[in-house]
């Protein structure tokens, strides 16, 4: 396969990542379902991962990829705990609506 690094300018990756990140942010603000919100957060994480990998590839430095590796570890842990929390909240309020979780206000 032809080397993408030569034919695709790095700016495109920057653009793609920021767009992906903003879609994630908008999703978090748009949706009320906590599971979807969690997925949108994953989307944001992935946009950052993509950026890191692109930089690492263009700068010929493997450190960025190692970082992505650690981000994946943290994301996995986060999802596991987050979903467990959602399950346990659902058990209490029978809903995954974010607006049903206002109890801490008082």
């Amino acid at each position: 396969m032809e080397n993408a690094l030569v034919s695709v300018p790095h700016n495109w990756y920057l653009l793609l990542s920021s767009l992906l990140f903003c879609i994630g942010v908008m999703g978090v603000l748009f949706r009320r379902n906590v599971i979807v919100i969690l997925m949108c957060i994953e989307l944001m994480l992935n946009s950052v991962n993509l950026l890191l990998v692109s930089f690492s590839a263009y700068a010929q430095n493997a450190d960025g990829q190692v970082f992505v590796f650690f981000v994946m570890v943290v994301a996995a842990a986060e999802v596991a705990v987050g979903l467990a929390l959602i399950v346990s909240i659902y058990r209490n309020v029978a809903s995954t609506d974010i607006d049903s979780m206002k109890k801490l206000k008082w």
Binding site: V25, V28, L29, R32, I98, D99, M101, K102, K103, L104, K105
Partner: protein, 643 residues
Amino acid sequence: MNDQITNYSLLTILSILIPVFPLVGFLINGLLGKKVPEPISGWIGSIAVLASFVCAAAIFFTLPATESLSFNLFNWIAYANLNISFGFLIDPLTITMLLVITGIGFLIHLYSISYMHGDEGFTRFFTYLNLFIFFMLLLVMGNNYLVMFIGWEGVGLCSYLLIGFWFKEHENNNAAKKAFIMNRVGDLGFLLGMFALLMLFGTLDYASVAQAVQGYPINDGLIIGITLLLFIGAMGKSAQIPLYTWLPDAMAGPTPVSALIHAATMVTAGIYMIVRSNVLFAMAPATLDVILIVGVATCVMAAIIGLMQNDIKKVLAYSTVSQLGLMFVALGLGAFSSGMFHVVTHAFFKALLFLGSGSVIHALHGEQDIRKMGGLSKYIKITFITFMIGSLAISGIPPFAGFFSKDEILAKAFEHSPAIWIIVSLSSALTAFYMFRLVYITFSGNYRGTEETRSKIHESPALITIPLIILAILSIIGGFMGLPAITGLTHKFSNYLSSVTGAAAGILPEAHHLSHATEYVLIGVAVLAAIVSILIARYMYVTKGQLPANSDAELNGLQKLVSNKFYVDEVYNAVFVKPVVKLSTLIYEYVDKLVVDNVVNGVAKVTDLSGRTLRLMQTGSTTFYLLAMVCGIVVLFVIRLLI
């Protein structure tokens, strides 16, 4: 040589032990408090002071009069050029004061065991008393002004605590506060004097100051300023005009306290301080003149007020003020050793008189008004005889102690100027008069109290009478320490102190000595004046049987003025107290209530209001929070882009 060194190290240990004993007594009584049963705490206190007395006596007998012992225990304040150590100085002056404080202190402790019997604050009383002795010892033992100042403030505190000892009565608390506040005025002077000394000489050490000051010309403005400031301190502590009104009020405390603190020891601290800095004061003759004037004025004024007092302790209090004035006269004349001599003899007979009056009060179950006494000589013989001896001593009748010391000061006064001699002689004649007025009204004639109280009059127990007898003996023989020059014998006391006061004597102009004939005449006149005064008192109060008036209405204008103490308290009230109270009220009304309160409440109101408003933002909706967060990030980016 080697022998001497071991001797000195022994003396060092002994002198460190002196203040330690009362401190230990204070700690035991103070920490155990009511757990110590009544007589035991008294004995602990007494034995602690006795032990100090023994140490002081040992030093007195081993340390030659020409030697002094100065040592530093530790470096206290070391900062840049400032270097102040915590150290002791043991010389004849210190030893004299030590013997007076611990000796008379011990007798008064003994006396108190019986006098304070049954008081609910018995242990507390001895705790304070031991603490007082500790601070007083610190005051006289320090080798620099700062250590003296610790003691100075400490005795002030103890004086406050003991005047207000029976704090359940409001009047006593007021007297205590008055004493404390008036002393603060003097202490400020002392403090400023110390700062000035530090600025000028960079040291507070007695020896260094005495050495440094001799490089200045006589009557240098700075030295006059410093000595005046120090004298203000002495004024407060030793109750001189204008800071004397606290001492008569201080009689609110228990009688042993009046005897120990307000007659024998603490009030003489001012005199000690000036004698201690005699070189400094000798370099400022102008200050000595001020001291002389203040001393004379106090001496006369207090004696006049003493004529019309009806409370047995108040009479003695004014007599103390007057005698302190006499001591300052001696200092003002540059006769430092004479002043100290009078301090010592005065300590003997004034302690005796106060303890005697305590015995009278004890016998009469708390009665202090002499108009309700009379004819007591029949009931309380020992008290009467010892009180009589004290009165003779203070009146200056030979051969009692007061005669010698007073005569010495009078002779010095005559050398200086006959006018001063006349005024001081007059005041000492007044002293003889009011003392015997007191004696006759109290002890002769018929008992004027109720029949019921009369049957209860009893002589005090041995613990009270023994100190009285010892002090009476001291009042008789105490004067022989300093025989006048005409007898041809040596003045032992003056010789003993000469290593301390000698330096000042070298600076002051040599006074022309009186001829023997003049001196005989002076003595004769003084004694005659005293005897005549006594006889007048006898005529008025025994032969004619007069009694002091019961109310102001029976008095003429002059008598009224004297009886009301020249209205000095009222004037102070109007000039100092009232404006301060007014100002405080004003500040309270306008600054405190309007400004401070509103500011404080305003802060609370603003917090409350903003809290109520901002609370509305806390919707609890996570989406809203996230939205706010995103907006925040956007704003941050915009700011980043714009800058």
